[in-house]
């Protein structure tokens, strides 16, 4: 009958951290094999192992918290710090790509025709699909807040409706962006304009997909009664991440789509 004299969670030994590191090694070396030696085996192994590690690690976190009760308020506080630090690191990640964009666009070189957008580039009209995408992400921020208050107030039906709406809006954004990527008259290979545009919006799109996945897991957990009105940090973390994705889009829209057109 051992008890701990503190409110922290001393986690049981787990294989996922080292397997995750191995997956990262397989994935990075797999990219090299693909880019330089025309082989995809290592990359496929890397991505598959990454997926398996994520599923099993996070499944274990749900088991430790929801089913075993290890997430005391102290533990939750640590998770809050962790999520905030992670999102901050992602903000710096995007900062780099914005830096690259402004570096090239504020002083366009003679090779580009001394102008921005460069000669021969026909940018997307910011007032068409990009504006719709802005409305979609802003709306999804409103619906996820509705979902949060529904959870806090114990309103199960509305929480499920609101979170489902949020996820559908996220899918709609992704579908529209994919269509825009296909329809655009310029590609990633079209000067530094294409590079900055597609790398920044591409990573943003990846984060939308990640955020949508996180929210979907929350929806499944919500339906399975994992959350209480006082304790639902997984949902809060997903909502924070989703708001972050929205804010990055707003900066992308204002700088690349609007100012840069």
């Amino acid at each position: 009958m051992a008890h701990q004299a503190h409110s922290y969670h001393m986690v049981d030994p787990s294989p996922w951290p080292i397997f995750g590191a191995a997956a990262a090694l397989l994935t990075t070396s797999g990219l090299i094999m693909w880019f330089h030696y025309n082989s995809t085996a290592l990359l496929m192994a890397g991505l598959l192992s990454m997926l398996l590690v994520m599923l099993q690690w996070w499944r274990d976190v749900v088991r430790e918290s929801t089913f075993q009760g290890h997430h005391t308020p102290t533990v939750q506080k640590g998770l809050r710090y962790g999520m905030i630090l992670f999102i901050t690191s992602e903000a710096f990640f995007f900062l780099g790509f914005f830096w690259a964009f402004f570096h090239s666009s504020l002083a366009p070189t003679p090779e580009l025709g001394g102008q921005w957008p460069p000669t021969g580039i026909k940018p997307l009209n910011p007032l068409e699909v990009p504006l719709l995408n802005t409305a979609i992400l802003l709306a999804s921020g409103v619906t996820v807040t509705w979902a949060h208050h529904s959870i806090t107030e114990g309103n199960r039906k509305q929480a499920i409706h609101a979170l489902t709406l949020t996820i559908l809006l996220g899918f709609y954004f992704t579908a529209l962006q994919a269509m825009e990527y296909h329809e655009a008259s310029f590609s990633i290979a079209d000067s530094v304009y294409g590079s900055t545009f597609f790398v920044a919006t591409g990573f943003h799109g990846l984060h939308v997909i990640i955020g949508s996945s996180f929210l979907t897991v929350c929806l499944l957990r919500l339906i399975k009664f994992h959350f209480t009105s006082n304790h639902h940090f997984g949902f809060e973390a997903a909502a924070w991440y989703w708001h972050f994705v929205d804010i990055i889009w707003l900066f992308l829209y204002m700088s690349m789509y609007w100012w840069g057109s």
Binding site: N38, T119, L132, A184
Partner: protein, 78 residues
């Protein structure tokens, strides 16, 4: 007990979603107006850069290549 839930539901259903619908209508209207012909092909050196072949297909098509709107370094395909 229910104030915030009701408030954000109203903001969602009466504000945010109608705004999305308006933007959808705006896109539909604007896309009806322009069926522009595509720009003439000029082999600019800063565009359609191919320093290294792409690791897929024949190495010369971008990932989201659109034969109607995207030219290859040698010109439009169709």
């Amino acid at each position: 007990m229910t104030f915030w839930g009701r408030t954000w539901r109203a903001l969602s259903l009466l504000g945010a979603l109608p705004a999305v619908a308006l933007c959808m209508a705006n896109v539909a209207l604007q896309q009806r107006q322009h069926r522009t012909t595509r720009p003439t092909f000029v082999p600019y050196h800063h565009l359609r850069i191919r320093t290294k072949p792409f690791p897929w297909g024949d190495g010369t098509h971008t990932l989201f290549h659109n034969p109607r709107t995207n030219a290859l370094p040698s010109g439009y395909e169709q």
